[in-house]
């Protein structure tokens, strides 16, 4: 049974190889055009700062997400499902929009400082490492919460009932049920956040406060755009990728399967302890809801006035963005499911790497490399939208893979043999086993992929022709021409469309799973 070749077992490695090629070929193309690479002390300082802020952002986002996810898992309250859905919103904000939203709360004349001044306290500054981490936590805490919440919901009710019958208190429940689940889920969650923060650029620079807050991606921009030193750009992108590889291997080593075994889908919520834990959960929920909702409200507030006076190019750009998002989401979901199912049978660090490293690639090097690769064969402009779809697929796949993997593993452990013994293969297995059992994470993941592909500038800026701009590009063009009000409104449309796409997929998945 171990060595029989099923179609799936061939497709998945091919797909992994394709992804790695997509990451490495542009890097090689850029490196080949450049003449040898040499990194100076400033470059290494950028590497250090990038890694530091990414580690902090990943650790804090993940740790803070645990109490929020637990409170959501074990409490029932009005507005709970709204809050869960709202968790989808922040990480699909374009970086600049998110920063302006945060400034409305934490900025010099933001709500927090107004309150501090009113109370006679000194104002605080958001600029610096702490501001960068704050923004990354704002963007990634909801994602982490949703992923961990999936973990909580996947603990079979049979195990919960056993725990309750054995009289487990909250600390025993944590030790025997929750901690094993977290051991399985947390490394992967921290990994995607770390890798995405590693390549963060606009957020880090805008809130960093000065040149000391320099990331690898900025050094790459400088190398490509002002110096046209492609060798140095490729070297920096290689370092960024290497850090990503180390993170993948570390997460691979730290992950332990929880091994809860299967349940019978009997709905049984976790017990909701009373006393101070009740207050603790309430605090976690209120604080996180405010932390997420206030900047989002600011984005909404800023965007409303300009809605009536938008340039005509917004509508076609929005249509193009939605088309790109849907195509990318479909491709990414298919590919990530294929990889996750294969990895659930025979996991390997190679598969993990292929499914994670696209996030660690430099957007600029990826775009430049693809440009160099495509140029001999076709005018790059004519391929702007296909290339954007391809890149968005590759960039959203890691999230999907991370969301699907734990559940694909559980599916394989619980029902793999039964399905095999019933000759449940191919389409039948997908239709009757995989899709119904993974509906919830598939819907959530597809929603994330669609939303990210809406919001992500990707490489379109390098490829876009005269009439191919997507909505994020129009937003950035508007902000570049003093038209901040129109930009805020276009951004609001972008965010709303992303959110609707996300909500439709996510709710669809949850309904199908119910």
């Amino acid at each position: 049974m171990a060595s029989r070749a099923r179609p799936l077992s061939l497709i998945a490695p091919a797909l992994a190889a394709l992804l790695l090629a997509l990451v490495l070929a542009p890097l090689a193309a850029v490196g080949w055009r450049g003449a040898g690479m040499s990194l100076g002390p400033a470059d290494w300082a950028a590497v250090r700062f990038s890694v530091t802020q990414a580690l902090l952002s990943a650790a804090i986002s993940t740790l803070l997400a645990i109490p929020v996810a637990r409170a959501l898992a074990r409490r029932r309250f009005p507005g709970r499902s709204l809050l869960v859905t709202l968790m989808g919103a922040p990480f699909l904000l374009p970086a600049v929009v998110a920063v302006l939203g945060l400034l409305a709360v934490f900025g010099r004349s933001g709500l927090l400082n107004q309150a501090l001044v009113a109370m006679g306290l000194p104002p605080i500054s958001i600029y610096g490492l702490h501001g960068v981490v704050l923004a990354h936590v704002f963007l990634n805490l909801p994602l982490a919460t949703r992923m961990i919440l999936h973990g909580w919901l996947s603990i079979p009710s049979e195990r919960i009932r056993l725990a309750q019958s054995l009289g487990f208190g909250p600390s025993e429940t944590f030790r025997h049920l929750e901690w094993p689940m977290l051991r399985e889920v947390l490394p992967g969650v921290a990994l995607v956040i770390l890798v995405i923060c590693l390549t963060s650029f606009a957020v880090v620079l805008t809130l960093g406060g000065g040149p000391a807050a320099t990331t690898i991606e900025l050094a790459i921009y400088q190398a490509v755009r002002f110096e046209f030193d492609l060798g140095r750009a490729a070297g920096l992108a290689g370092v960024q990728l290497a850090v990503g590889v180390i993170a993948v291997l570390a997460a691979w080593t730290l992950t332990r399967p929880a091994g809860f075994g299967a349940g019978l889908d009997r709905g049984l919520p976790l017990s909701a302890p009373t006393g101070w834990r009740r207050w603790g959960d309430g605090m976690a929920l209120t604080t996180s809801a405010l932390f997420l909702a206030l900047p989002l409200a600011a984005v909404l507030w800023r965007g409303l006035p300009g809605l009536t006076d938008l340039p005509a190019s917004v509508l076609p750009a929005a249509a193009r963005s939605v088309a790109v998002a849907l195509a990318s989401a479909l491709l990414a979901t298919t590919a990530a499911l294929t990889l996750a199912l294969a990895a659930a049978r025979h996991g390997s660090p190679l598969m993990e790497g292929a499914a994670t490293l696209p996030l660690a690639t430099s957007g600029l090097v990826l775009g430049t490399g693809l440009f160099l690769l495509i140029q001999p064969f076709a005018p790059p402009m004519s391929l702007a939208l296909p290339v954007t779809i391809l890149v968005n697929t590759a960039l959203s796949l890691p999230y999907l893979y991370r969301i699907l993997l734990p559940e694909a593993r559980a599916l394989q452990a619980d029902y793999g043999r039964l399905a095999d013994s019933l000759a449940l293969h191919g389409w039948s297995r997908l239709r009757w086993l995989v899709l119904p059992r993974l509906a919830r994470p598939l819907g959530f993941g597809a929603g994330i992929a669609a939303a990210l592909s809406m919001g992500d500038l990707g490489v379109i800026a390098l490829f876009a022709g005269e009439r191919q701009a997507t909505l994020p590009l129009v937003v950035s063009q508007l902000t570049g021409a003093y038209r901040m009000e129109a930009a805020a409104s276009a951004a609001l449309i972008l965010v709303t469309l992303s959110f609707v796409l996300f909500w439709a997929c996510d709710a669809g998945g949850r309904r199908a799973a119910a």
Partner: protein, 327 residues
């Protein structure tokens, strides 16, 4: 409104290439080609005279332009590049991808400018923009700014042309004293953004008292928004200039048409479009004069390093800047 949007959308889909007419391809920065930028009006005006199809190809922002030209190399479909500035022309000439224009036009630029490969089409002075109602008495020099507790947002010279402009401004005004000026400014700088739009957005949100932009920025608010509260602070040491230029690519398959466009660029039909679309000064003052607000903030002294000097001092100036600001 809805109908217009829809019509624009359909038009976008139904625009196949017009066959038979010669095509002139101009590589430029994004904001030049947008519907609110100079592109559409200039396209219409030039096509009325040339019996050709003028196509603007956007290639990211100004700094990305030169990288794009170098990436495409001699295989480029483009005939002209429009939108480089004088801090980049030395590097651009060094690629040997550009052809000499052979023209000696007369312009209204406040400084002498002549380059064998590049012709200017607009220009501006960098300046710190502020809100008169919140900061009625802005500092009058970098030294006064450094001594004050006025806060500023600037752009990173490694990713933005205004950022690079500021670096050269301080260098041109203070030479060897530049590190000292930067050290003095360190506690005034709220943050350093990757591009102009982030910085300007932060300023409008009230995150800083002043932002690095152009002397013409207040004119935008005055004309487009009817808001006269914005002003540019005039500095005694003079203001660094940004001159935006266009050049013909040696690999062009339409060299005559490209020459024709360069000539057109210095006519009133092109120049009169610039002020209220690109919010920069035209290099030849239009027959109808400059719009309201363009004469409000005119520095007494203009600073500009030659392209060769700018190229020569850049790396050292950048290192000084990083050392002074890295706390």
């Amino acid at each position: 409104m809805q109908k217009h949007l829809l019509a624009a959308g359909l038009l976008t889909i139904a625009m196949p290439a017009l066959a038979e007419t010669p095509v002139l391809t101009v590589l430029t920065y994004d904001s030049f080609t947008t519907e609110w930028g100079p592109g559409p009006a200039i396209e219409t005006a030039f096509e009325a005279t040339c019996a050709c199809d003028l196509r603007f190809v956007p290639a990211g922002d100004g700094a990305a332009l030169l990288a794009r030209v170098q990436l495409e190399g001699a295989a480029s479909d483009a005939d002209l590049v429009l939108g480089l500035d004088t801090s980049l022309t030395a590097a651009a000439s060094a690629t040997q991808l550009f052809a000499p224009h052979g023209k000696t036009p007369k312009t209204d630029l406040p400084v002498d400018f002549a380059d064998p490969n590049f012709l200017p089409f607009d220009w501006g002075w960098f300046a710190f923009v502020h809100d008169k109602t919140k900061l009625p008495e802005p500092p009058k020099s970098f030294e006064a700014l450094a001594a004050s507790d006025v806060t500023i947002v600037i752009q990173d010279p490694r990713s933005s042309t205004p950022g690079l402009g500021l670096l050269l401004w301080v260098k041109a005004a203070y030479g060897d004293r530049a590190p000292e000026i930067w050290q003095g400014l360190a506690d005034n700088i709220v943050t350093v953004t990757p591009g102009w739009s982030e910085a300007y957005g932060l300023f409008l949100e009230g995150e800083a008292d002043m932002v690095l932009s152009y002397t013409t920025s207040p004119a935008y608010h005055l004309i487009a928004e009817g808001d006269d509260t914005k002003a540019a602070a005039l500095f005694d040491e003079g203001h660094y200039m940004q001159i935006e230029v266009a050049g013909k690519l040696a690999s062009s398959d339409q060299p005559d048409l490209a020459d024709q466009f360069l000539d057109f660029m210095l006519t009133d039909a092109f120049q009169s479009v610039i002020p209220q679309t690109n919010w920069m000064y035209p290099v030849i003052t239009p027959a109808a004069g400059l719009p309201e607000g363009f004469d409000a903030f005119r520095p007494a002294k203009s600073l500009l390093l030659s392209p060769a000097e700018a190229q020569a001092v850049r790396d050292a100036a950048l290192a000084e800047w990083q050392a002074a600001l890295a706390r």
